[in-house]
Structures are given as C-alpha cells and as structure tokens.
Symmetry: C2
DNA sequence: AGCCTAATAGTCATGGTTGACTATTCACTG
DNA sequence: CAGTGAATAGTCAACCATGACTATTAGGCT
C-alpha cells in the first residue's frame, strides 16, 4: 500500500500538479505498471496532505472551477526518499490469483483442464502483445526497466504454461 | 477477489469443516499460495453462507464452545465449478509493488541504486529458498503445480535482477 | 490442586479501494 | 447559436481486508 504514496510523491517531485494531470498521466502512461484508480489517487493525496507531505494550493484558470494543485513539501521529499529505498530493497511476493484454480485442477476432467489452460495461454499471449506495444524511452530509464520487468514475468509465465500443457497432455493422452 | 470464494469452496468440497480447521490448513499448507487471513476467511464464509452457497451447522463436542461447521450446498458446488473454470481460463496481471521503485531509479546515485537492488536480490534468494523447502506431494498434483508456478516466477525474477544489476554496473563503472 | 501454554473460536473498529455518479466548461459542428 | 462530446474536477456509499483484541478449554507439568 506504500507504493501508492511513493508513486504520487515521485510524480509530484518532478513537478507540482493538479489531480487531473496526475490521474491522466498514470492512466495514459503507467497503466501497465499500476492499478491505482482515480478515487484512490484523490484519497491518497488527501492522506498525504493531512500528514503534511504535500501542500495544496487552489488555482483558478479562466472560468474553470478552481482546482487543487499539489506540491511536495520538504517532509514529503524525505518520505519519498525513505519509501523509495524501502521499495527498491525488497522483493515482491509472488501471489497469483490464478494459482487457486491450479490447486483444484484435479477436480476437472483432464481434457477440460487442458482446454481451459489453453485459453489462459491465449489470454496471456494477448497481454504480452499489449505490453510489447507499449512505447519506450518516453519517461526515463526507470519506467522502461519496470516495463521490461513485467514482460520478463509475462514471458516466464508463458513458457511455464506451455511446458505445463505439454506435460499434462502426455499424462493423459487425450483420446 | 473471487479466488477467496473459490479457495474456501474448494476446501469445503473435499469435506465439511469448521473455521479453525480451514484457517489452520491454509496457514500450514498454503501460506506460499495465498495471503488470506483468518478474519477474512470468517467474512468470506459469512458472505457465502448468506448467499446460500454454504450451510452452517452448530456442533458441540465435549464441553468446548459450539463451533460452526460449514458444508457446501448444491448451489455452492455450481458456483465452485463456475469460479474454477473462470480462474483457470484467465491469466494474471503482473503488477508488482516493486516496479514503482524501479520507475524512480534514476533519482538515486547509481552506486546506491545498485546497493539497494543487491539487497533486493538477497531478499529474493531467501524467498526462493523458503519456497524450495516447502514439502511436495502432500496435497495433490494441483498444489504442487501451483508451487512450481510460483518458483518459476521467483527464479525469473532472480535472473532478471541479476542481469539488470550487471547492466547497471556496466553503465556506471562504480569507481 | 494449581499453573501455564497451546489450541480453539471468534469479534470489531479501522482504514483502504473503487464503481458509479454528479457537474461544469470547452471546442466544435451544423 | 444550440447542441454535443470530450475534458476537467471531483464525491460518496459500499465493500473488503485485517491488526488487535477477547475468551474459553484441553493437556501437561509440578
């Protein structure tokens, strides 16, 4: 849950922004790397602001309704540094929703299990394509690194799934 | 969020159980595959029960406080079948908290970034060892499959991290 | 008999996340 | 210049997950 804070602080560190800008940037450019939704961003910014890590300024532009522009404070910079270091030093737990299905694979006739996992493989290929299409070299080395990281896992998943399918096929010669 | 339902239904399908049994089994044997905590299991069972997918029976044994024994209903079996198929057919999104740090890697001096990622690697090695130690062949083919799946990802992460470290080292010859 | 630890069986306040909704303004088209 | 779709800027009720807490009973040791 700390990574939401880290992400917003990191973006605000580059430049002060209003919420629409932040959400828009995340949705457009980081959709493969985070799932943070709009209302969540509002809530996190509210939290950060209450705790003094960011400052809000109302800003009027033309006749538009005034919007809240957030800037990072010195305390926020310090928090950012701490969270960044923590985040980099720790590895992620690999817990996948898809594992629960695997646990009960034996409950299904082998042929159906194979069919379903083949669907999963297709779904995965689609995901891989989407990620491969994502543009690079637009937001710094780090973002590209993170994207490659995701792709590594997607490809590892594909390789595993393919070899698992083969293994299952051998075990139960379908027909 | 569906996988919590699937997991509990799957366990109840094998045999009716009371909550302590369920939680204990999950904690002892599936801790590498799910994060579901005790109060969550209580809540999910409550939900499932309210919706008619499981039945509760009070059971007295000796002088112990009566405990709730849950059994899966026919409607629950049907739900289980549906959730299992859905789960098997879909691939997981690969979203890692650790990616957020990577995005901002450029904010740190190269030497510190390297040091932190080395720590991450160590953390990862530890995790891999823990998972390799986990016993196999105790709870059916599916559980072993899921465990191998996790290990595949952990190892892929290690390989990626190692090569990334090398690449970063080359880019900034530390001293 | 008394005491301690582990097993058993929960509850609850709190905090995080988000789908769905509301409203205003801008830019363009016919 | 009325109408429309996209951009802008949020809010809110509802749901989920869980750390921390409470209690009782069983079994063993002294």
């Amino acid at each position: 849950m700390d990574e939401q804070e880290l992400l917003l602080l990191g973006l605000l560190k580059v430049q002060s922004q209003h919420t629409y800008q932040l959400n828009d940037f995340i949705e457009r450019n980081l959709s493969h790397l985070t799932e943070m939704k709009k209302p969540t961003a509002y809530a996190v910014l509210e939290r950060l602001s209450k705790a003094g890590y960011v400052e809000v300024r109302g800003e009027q532009e033309g006749k538009r309704p005034p919007r809240k522009v957030y800037s990072i404070t010195p305390a926020g910079e310090a928090l950012y540094q701490r969270l960044l270091r923590e985040n980099l030093a720790q590895s992620d737990h690999m817990r996948f929703a898809g594992n629960v299905g695997l646990m009960f694979l034996d409950d299904l006739p082998a042929s159906e299990a194979l069919a379903l996992l083949s669907q999963r493989l297709q779904d995965l290929e689609r995901l891989i394509t989407v990620h491969e299409q994502a543009p690079r070299h637009e937001h710094g080395l780090g973002v590209d690194l993170a994207l490659e990281h995701v792709l590594v896992h997607l490809r590892a998943d594909r390789a595993w799934l393919q070899s698992t399918l083969e293994r299952l096929e051998k075990m139960s010669p379908t027909r």
